[in-house]
Amino acid sequence: MEALYAATVGVLMACGIYLVLRARTFPVIMGLTLISHAVNLFLFATGRLALRAPAVIGQSETYTDPLPQALVLTAIVIGFAMTAFVVVLALRAVVELRNDHVDGVDPDEDWRP
């Protein structure tokens, strides 16, 4: 399970970085979202992966670390707010700059809203 989990995080991160480097606002936003997913999964794993172990003491014989789950929850909420902001920013930038390149100037000039 750990190998699969690690591979998932790795692939998400790699895709995210690839997309951020695309230099167009929409792929950049997708990339940032994937990176934040990867980080959240990673953060979750820092409490060690355990099956059938609730995050509550006394419910069963084994229990898992509840703190990373609380951290991930916080990080998800913050990430959600940030993504919402970036989407609106990107939309506004497309309207304002008349193109979706992150430099504000389209090197190819092949795209018009």
Binding site: V20, T25, V28, L32, I35, S36, V39, F42, L43, A45, T46, G47, R48, D65, L67, P68, L71, T74, A75, I78, A81, M82, F85, V86, L89, A90, R92, A93, E96, L97, V102, D103, G104
Partner: protein, 500 residues
């Protein structure tokens, strides 16, 4: 009620009140002034308490460290909070005179308070995850302030700013995750204590470098500074000044905190990287400024080069160097904010930031010229202003540590800083104002509210002179801060006292 929480609560309350008075700009202005005044008052009280007691620690909700979230203020934290108070008040005063009403109606003041709360929160927290949360509070407020108005240039700068800062937050968060996986705690003092027992020192170095990258992006250190000159010259001048004074310094503060209290196990590795980063940051910033001919762009590049001096103080890692770094932060926040505010006045009177179109201010506004010369000479390191002592301490520390290359770089960069300041002086103040092109009507200068702007600038300029003339007491404060950072056991004991 402990004083440690007040620097966060006061701006948050002021922000909430401003939102409640959304329709009344007059009320929001009054709250902005009152809120920042109270913040300054609270920060002075906090400074007094830290000065007499050493540390002010507050365990939120009564949960003892390391279980709950801890607010822990040492001398460095208190100094930073005090500077936040001073800058906040200056910006509020300046904004009263300069912020256009359409910005005020769209939440300028609530966002300003939120930003101050985020900055103050980062300075007082003793919990690494809580630091991340305050970073995000500060970031979201800065995003909104940066794009307020929605002009072309702002959008372009904002996309770079937002993307790189979010990326840095992702790195920060992963580093927090690994650190938690290693030591099983998020309390900085507890981490510092337990990190020594971790056997996998390679992994600790990986985490250290991840923190270095994350905070390096926030502090705009080499080679991660490109978002700063792309965005800082685009928003309202008051906003630029607030960012220039405080935001990058939060990154620097975090570096100081993490690389003295927490990561002091392998100084030869981590601080050597920091040393080269410092040298290259100083150089690239000052060279970038030499190539610019726009008032705020020059100042933006100089933020980068000055960040290099602060990191140099940290990287040398001797008591004197840390004192120099802390002194430099104190000096820099005030001076940089002043310079940006001066650019706001020249913009108000001419409607441009381009050096080629400005001119004649020495003849028309001698008072403003003096107010520019004070921070400009201070930035370049002329005695008896604050910048001289800041540079003197850092460079002396460099000589004592026999780090010749970086010391030489620091001296050279000081000289080049003077070149940039003289360039601004010659173009904006000394030369006659170029004639307007035929048929182009110059807009009439708007002078309403100029008094507020002058009050803010004069106050800050007085601060830099004050620091310069009272070098010794300020040095003593920095010395206390440095001692606490170099011997983190005091901080650890203060936080973990009474632990189960």
């Amino acid at each position: 009620m402990s004083l440690a929480a007040l620097p966060i609560l006061v701006p948050l309350a002021a922000g909430a009140l401003s939102v409640a008075f959304w329709r009344s700009v007059a009320a929001q202005r009054a709250i902005a002034l009152a809120g920042t005044l109270i913040l300054l008052f609270v920060s002075i009280l906090l400074m007094q308490q830290v000065h007499s007691e050493g540390f002010v620690v507050l365990h939120m909700g009564g949960w003892q460290a390391p279980l709950g979230i801890t607010l822990a203020v040492d001398m460095l934290g208190a100094i930073m909070v005090l500077l936040t108070g001073i800058t906040g008040l200056a910006i509020a005063l300046f904004s009263l005179g300069d912020t256009p009403e359409r910005h005020e109606k769209f939440g300028y003041y609530p966002l300003m308070h939120l930003l101050l709360a985020g900055v103050a929160g980062s300075f007082v927290t003793g919990d690494i995850f809580n630091l991340y949360v305050w970073f995000e509070v500060m970031l979201i407020a800065s995003f909104a302030l940066l794009t307020l108005g929605g002009e072309r240039a702002q959008m372009e700068g904002a996309i770079k700013y937002v993307t790189l800062n979010l990326f840095s937050s992702a790195i920060f968060l992963s580093a927090v995750g690994i650190l938690y996986g290693l030591v099983g705690t998020l309390n900085m003092a507890d981490i510092a204590q337990k990190l020594g027992q971790v056997e996998d020192t390679g992994m600790v170095n990986v985490v250290a470098v991840m923190f270095m990258v994350a905070f390096g992006i926030k502090a705009s250190a080499f080679p991660l500074f490109f978002w700063l000159p792309a965005s800082y010259h685009t928003p309202l001048v008051g906003v630029s000044a607030l960012f220039a004074g405080l935001l990058t310094k939060v990154g620097v503060y975090s570096l100081f905190r993490m690389f003295t209290v927490v990561f002091d196990h392998d100084v030869a590795y981590t601080h050597t990287i920091l040393l080269w980063v410092a040298a290259l940051t100083m150089l690239s910033g000052v060279l970038g400024a030499a190539a610019q001919f726009e008032f705020r762009r020059i100042l933006s590049f100089h933020i980068i080069s000055q960040i290099g001096y602060m990191i140099l103080g940290l990287a040398l890692y001797t008591p004197l160097a840390i004192i120099g770094g802390v002194f430099y932060i104190m000096h820099h926040i005030i001076v940089k904010t002043t310079l940006f505010l001066v650019s706001g006045v020249t913009y108000r009177l001419t409607g441009t930031h381009e050096l080629s179109e400005l001119g004649g201010f020495y003849r028309e506004r001698p008072m403003l010229s003096v107010l520019f010369l004070i921070p400009a000479f201070s930035l370049a390191g002329m005695p008896p202003l604050s910048g001289f002592f800041a540079k003197l301490i850092v460079i002396r520390a460099g000589i004592e540590a026999e780090a010749w290359t970086v010391t030489a770089v620091a001296l050279l960069v000081g000289l080049l800083t003077l070149y940039s300041m003289v360039k601004i002086w010659a173009e904006v103040f000394w030369k006659a104002r170029p004639e307007a092109e035929d048929g182009v009507q110059r807009p009439e200068p708007r002078t309403e509210g100029l008094v507020w702007m002058y009050v803010a600038i004069t106050g800050l300029a007085a601060c830099t002179i004050f620091i310069g003339l009272n070098g010794q007491p300020i040095y003593n404060l920095a010395e206390v801060a440095a001692e606490q950072l170099m011997q983190p056991q005091g901080y650890i004991d203060a936080v973990l006292e009474g632990r189960p």
